[in-house]
């Protein structure tokens, strides 16, 4: 039950895009049409589901103060947490590479659909953000970390598909020239964010 709450919470209340602005660059750049937005959304969700639990394990068993006790009791005083960032980004970059190879081998159709987005995900802030927030929140177990990753991914997915759909619709609207393109996209995202804020304060 608790996991379900976490899932819903990370989709709506702590939405990666509207509450924390993570993954904004690709969010704005790749939301011109629904089809590509769909592909990128899938890829991001997938990578979050894979990397958040991996980074959780890394954090719990290697990086946290005293985390190396399982190796030998004499290592109880070791604190590697300052290496967190570099380890997380290494895990993410290599996981991206592995996933790319696996998807290419076993699901060529999906691979073609995702195309160039898979490698670009290594530098998507939403993925690293997922790892860092996971660390900040002290999730209890690998399972909750996976659920958290999945929820954040689905939230990101919904947001980008929604924005892409709106952008397709406004293509023919009369917009003041300086606002065309990027400007109006920012405003739409802002308004969507205000709408998403209606979920704030909901206690699950």
């Amino acid at each position: 039950m608790e996991e379900l709450n976490l899932f819903v919470k990370s989709i709506f209340i702590d939405n990666m895009i509207f509450a924390y602005f993570l993954g904004m660059c690709s969010f704005l750049a790749v939301s011109k049409n629904v089809k590509t937005a769909f592909g990128l959304g899938l890829a991001v969700t997938f990578m979050l589901v894979v990397t958040v639990p991996l980074n959780y394990l890394l954090d719990t068993y290697v990086l946290q103060p005293g985390a190396l006790t399982w190796l030998s009791p004499s290592l109880a005083g070791v604190d590697l947490s300052f290496l967190g960032l570099i380890m997380f980004i290494a895990v993410i970059a290599s996981a991206t590479q592995l996933v790319e190879m696996a998807v290419e081998k076993f699901a060529p159709a999906l691979y073609n659909q995702l195309g160039i987005f898979l490698p670009l995900i290594a530098v998507n802030c939403a993925i690293l953000g997922g790892a860092l927030f996971m660390q900040q929140r002290d999730l209890g177990s690998v399972w909750s970390a996976t659920v958290y990753g999945a929820g954040s991914g689905v939230g990101w997915f919904l947001a980008i598909v929604g924005l892409a759909a709106i952008r397709e619709r406004i293509a023919y609207s009369h917009i003041p020239a300086p606002l065309r393109g990027v400007g109006i996209t920012f405003i739409i995202t802002g308004l969507m964010g205000i709408a998403f804020m209606s979920f704030m304060g909901i206690k699950l």
């Binding site: 660059c25 570099i86 490698p119 802030c125 065309r180």
Partner: protein, 207 residues
Amino acid sequence: MLSKQNKEVLFNPFSKDNPVLVQILGICSTLAVTAKLEPAIVMGMSVIAVMAFSNVIISLIRSTIPTTIRIIVQLVVVAALVIVVQQFLIAYDYDVSRQLSVFIGLIITNCILMGRLEAFALNNRPWPSFLDGIGNGLGYTIILVIVAFFRELLGSGTLFGYQVIPQFCYDHGYMNNGLMILPPMALITVACIIWVHRARNKDLQEK
């Protein structure tokens, strides 16, 4: 030292080639840290530092990096510099480093960094790369400061934490606009800046 070309590299990012307004890079942190001026400035300075030095380092080793693994090399260089900045902030400005929370870490994936490393540092000598880093970092900081200025002034009535809007305004019914502190208004503030900027620079308008 500052030839005409180098000057362009340094000053273009302020307006004509601004990383936030024109290249649309590094949006995440622009929006997240601008509710108050102080963290915005600290963030801007951190980005300038990381960017200038990562540009120089990548530019120095540019001919030895195999292209296939260049992204990982870039990430490692940037991550190492960000860790230095993070530890420095924790040591000297603990409160602000708490406020910025994960966003210092997210400098690693700040697209401005990767964008400039890919587009400039990989093909240029160290000194112009250094200037390019400083210029783009400053261009980014300027936007951060403008957004934070309006958000803090209208949202909390303060600047750098000092009360700016006099008490008698509040006595006569003035209220802080709480919406300005919330994240979505950052997007709309940036949109307004883009609007003004593109209205003045007609060649940047789309279609």
